[in-house]
Each structure stands twice: as C-alpha cells, then as structure tokens.
C-alpha cells in the first residue's frame, strides 16, 4: 500500500502540467498503485488570499474524498487566515494545511507560525511546510525565491509538542541539518520527493530516522516514478518500506 503525501492539482504558475484534474490524478494513482494521496493547490502559491484556490481544490476533490485528502493553503501573512483555517476544517473537513512561508513573506520564526500551531492542534490539523516550490536555480528572474530556513523547527516542535509538522520539498542536506530534531521529535515528519543521492532513502532512514519519512511524489510537477524507484534503489527492510510507503503517513493523522 502506498500513500502519496505530496500530490498537487491546479494550474502551476511556471509551467503547463500534464495533470490538472482529479480524474487524471486518480488514473495515475491506479497505475502507480497509490491508494491515497494528500493533494495541495499549486495555484495558491502566488495568491495573497488562497481561499478561492482552496475552494477550487475542494471542488476538484469532491466525490473522491476517500482517496484524495485536501491540503488547503494558508497564507499567514494575509489577514483572516484563522477564519480560513476554521472554514477549511468545519466546512470541508481538512485534516492538514500547507504553508509556503517564503512565497508569502514570513519565516518559521514568525510568531504567527506559533499562533497557527496553537489553533491547529485542537482542530487536529497537521501543518505542512513547503521548503521550496521548485529548484531555485531555475526560477524566473522576477520571482527568485530562496528556500525556507527550517532551523526554527527545532524550537517549534518543542514549543508545540502536540502540533504535527511535516517538511515538504526539502533537499537531503537541509534534512540532515535537522537530523537530531527529526530523531527526537515525535511530531515532525519529512516528505521525500526532493531527497537525492544513490540509495538516499537508506541513508535518510539511518540519519533522519525511518519513522520520520513520508513517501511523496510531487506529482504532477515531478515524474511520480522517481519516488517509486527510490524505494527500489534504497536498502530498506520490508518493515521500513511499509513505514515509508504508508504507515508513517497514517500515523500523522491517527489519534490526532
């Protein structure tokens, strides 16, 4: 069983993509033997107020919610994000939200991240932090955005031990810089789509901790086969494979 923790829908501001609707995503999931996907909104990345993009995401997933779980976007730099969180949870049953801190102009040391952790915890909403949207070296000159500094997660995970955080789209070096935090914090996970290196998931299992790793493809921006082949390339035991492929993802949302 596989759970894809990093699927996406909606127009991508920087390139036309092959998959834009739920039907195509579901067909691809069937082909890749993916049972469930957590789906974010690509168009929300450049929106000041992501509410309309979130609505488009909810509408796209309507009727497919047993397999496609929405990850609406919050922009903590836009007034009313608390109301948007409440709306996403109460009206649409969201269990997770995504943040794009560097596209929306704040750091993880911003007090609003702590405020989100405070209100997300009783709502049982996990917080996904997108380190990047794509390789900084290929950004358009008018939109050159550095990656998110993940270092404040060491304090955030301690300050808000009941809040669940997931790091998305981080490079292996960025993850290893937080290896101690991943090893010790039981409320922090790492999605694997951007990890690179021969046999990288074996190395990440050792240094970050297999319990922290979530399988994600970053489809349709990335070829989903990349994440699937990483499971083949790495030295992983059957139990480690099961943990990364699905069990850890289930744990993020379980008993929360």
């Amino acid at each position: 069983m596989r759970i894809d923790c990093n699927a996406n829908l909606g127009p991508f501001p920087f390139r036309r993509l092959a998959i834009t609707d739920a039907a195509d995503l579901l067909a691809e999931m069937d082909e890749m033997e993916v049972e469930q996907a957590w789906v974010g909104s690509l168009e929300s990345v450049l929106h000041l107020d992501p509410a309309a993009a979130n609505d488009a995401l909810f509408e796209a997933l309507d009727g497919h919610r047993e397999r496609l779980l929405p990850q609406p976007t919050l922009n903590l730099a836009c007034c009313g994000w608390e109301r948007e969180l409440e709306r996403c949870v109460s009206e649409h049953g969201a269990r997770m939200v995504r943040l794009y801190p560097n596209y929306h102009g704040y750091g993880l040391d911003d007090s609003r991240v702590g405020e989100l952790a405070k209100v997300a915890t009783p709502c049982q909403v996990a917080v996904a932090i997108c380190t990047r949207v794509f390789d900084e070296r290929s950004h358009p000159p008018c939109c050159s955005v550095p990656p998110v500094d993940l270092e404040p997660l060491s304090e955030l995970t301690v300050a808000w031990p009941a809040c669940r955080f997931v790091v998305y789209n981080a490079l292996i070096g960025e993850a290893l810089a937080l290896a101690d935090t991943f090893q010790t914090a039981s409320n922090l996970w790492l999605e694997i789509s951007h990890l690179e290196g021969a046999g990288v998931l074996g190395m990440a299992s050792e240094q970050v901790g297999v319990q922290s790793l979530l399988w994600g493809t970053y489809t349709p921006v990335f070829y989903p086969e990349a994440a699937a082949l990483k499971l083949v390339e790495a030295d992983l035991t059957p139990s480690q494979l099961a943990a990364i492929s699905a069990a850890n993802a289930q744990a993020v949302l379980q008993d929360y």
Partner: protein, 250 residues
C-alpha cells in the same frame, strides 16, 4: 541495455574500487548495465595538471576493476590544453577511455577548448560538457548551454553531450535544435515532468541520452525521467542505451 552516460564517485568514500562497488551496487538495483564515469575523488574547480591526471588515474582504477561495467571519460581542462591533450593520448588514444569530461575551470567557449575538440573529433569520442544556466548566478567560469552551442558550431566534426540539458532545460533544449553534433544529457536536475518530452520534441529521440549524475543524484529519480516520460517505448530504448552505445562505438 541501460547505459548511464554521467556518473561520478565523489559522493562515496574510500578507494576508487570501494566507491565503484557502491556505485554499481545501486546501479544494479535499477538494472543499469553500464555507467560512464568521470572526475576523480573530489571536485576541484581549478585543477592543477597533476590533479587532472590524478582524477583520470582514479577513474582508470575504478574502470579497470569493472571491465564492461564502467567506461571512463577523460577529464580535460581548457586551462591546461597541452596537459589535456597528453591525457587524451594517455587515457583515450592509448587507453580504455571512450569520452571526455569538462567541468567549470573555464567557460567552454574558451580558446583552450579548441585543440581539445579537434583531437576529440580525430579520436571520435564525445565531450561531456557541464552546462547550467542559473537564475541565482553562475559559478565562476561555469558554462551556459548557449556557450556549448557556440562551441559545437565551431567544431561540427566533434560530438558533444550537453550535461544537465543546460540546467534550465527549457532554455538548454531550445539552444541546440539545429546542431546535430549536440546530444542532450538528461542528468542531474530534479525529475521535472516534461523535460524528456520537450527534449524529444525539439531535437528528436536520437539525440537524447540518459544520465544520472549519481552518486550525488539518485539513479532512481533520473531514470524516472525516461521511464515515466510520455514518449514511445522505442524512443525510451534509444535514450536509455542505444544512442550512447552508438556514440561510444560500443
């Protein structure tokens, strides 16, 4: 047969043989039959003549213990053209290497590349040239894909592999449609969907080759650029092995 046109031993530790064993261990897991190997034990932006030779010795050691699995590419430096020509004589003309590799010591438009390209044409071996166009700023002397296009136009009888499809692959691919002596190496960038389809559409599947940039990159993510691409199976076979086999005369 799957041939990876672009690998290094830099990400591993130990002797050349130990590192080669690790590289091939992961290649085996994904059914990669042959890897083309270049550079030495570490990356040096401005290698001395001695460091160029040491890098080639390292690759010769790795390849010598893995005949049929590792094909060496000779490291050349346009900053030291005479040394490079001697290394080409030692490692290619008199040795087992079947290609050349140039990195970032000079932009590839540098005049120091001219004797290297002339000898490469004579030896009928391709040059794998690093290229990466970056929004965040180039490394000093780092070549852009347009630089390689200029070099390839200057040397129509030599064959070139544009490493990384130029980094910004939409741009890199669009730089070379009319240069039949330039092949696009898919290695080294994130597995962004559309790269391979674009390459095939613009230059044709006969001029696209699979490479990974392993061990710094995953064989997995780079192989997926081909296996996951929306192109005919016959094109995938060309990209995965047939094109580079033809180019290297294997």
């Amino acid at each position: 047969m799957i041939i990876d046109c672009h690998t290094h031993l830099i990400a591993f530790e130990g002797t050349a043989q130990q590192r080669a064993a690790r590289l091939l261990y992961f290649a085996d897991k994904l059914g990669i039959d042959v890897v083309c190997l270049s550079l030495g034990s570490s990356l040096v932006c401005q290698p001395t003549p001695e460091e160029v030779a040491e890098a080639n010795d390292f690759v010769l050691d790795a390849a010598g213990h893995n005949p049929g699995r590792i094909i060496g590419f000779c490291y050349v430096s346009p900053a030291h053209p005479e040394v490079s020509l001697a290394e080409m004589e030692r490692c290619v003309a008199q040795g087992p290497m079947r290609g050349l590799k140039a990195w970032v010591c000079r932009r590839c438009t540098d005049p120091g590349m001219d004797p290297i390209c002339q000898y490469a044409a004579e030896l009928e071996v391709p040059l794998l040239q690093h290229t990466w166009r970056k929004t965040v700023g180039q490394m000093e002397h780092e070549s852009r894909p347009s630089d390689l296009a200029e070099l390839a136009a200057r040397h129509p009888h030599a064959n070139f592999l544009m490493a990384h499809c130029g980094g910004q692959w939409e741009h890199g691919i669009n730089c070379v449609p009319d240069l039949p002596n330039v092949f696009l190496d898919l290695a080294g960038g994130d597995p962004e969907r559309g790269q391979t389809e674009k390459a095939v559409a613009v230059v044709g599947a006969e001029r696209v080759v699979y490479g990974s940039d392993a061990g710094g990159r995953s064989f997995a993510s780079q192989l997926a650029k081909v296996t996951g691409a929306d192109i005919p199976e016959a094109d995938k076979r060309l990209i995965l092995g047939e094109n580079i086999r033809r180019l290297l005369k294997l």
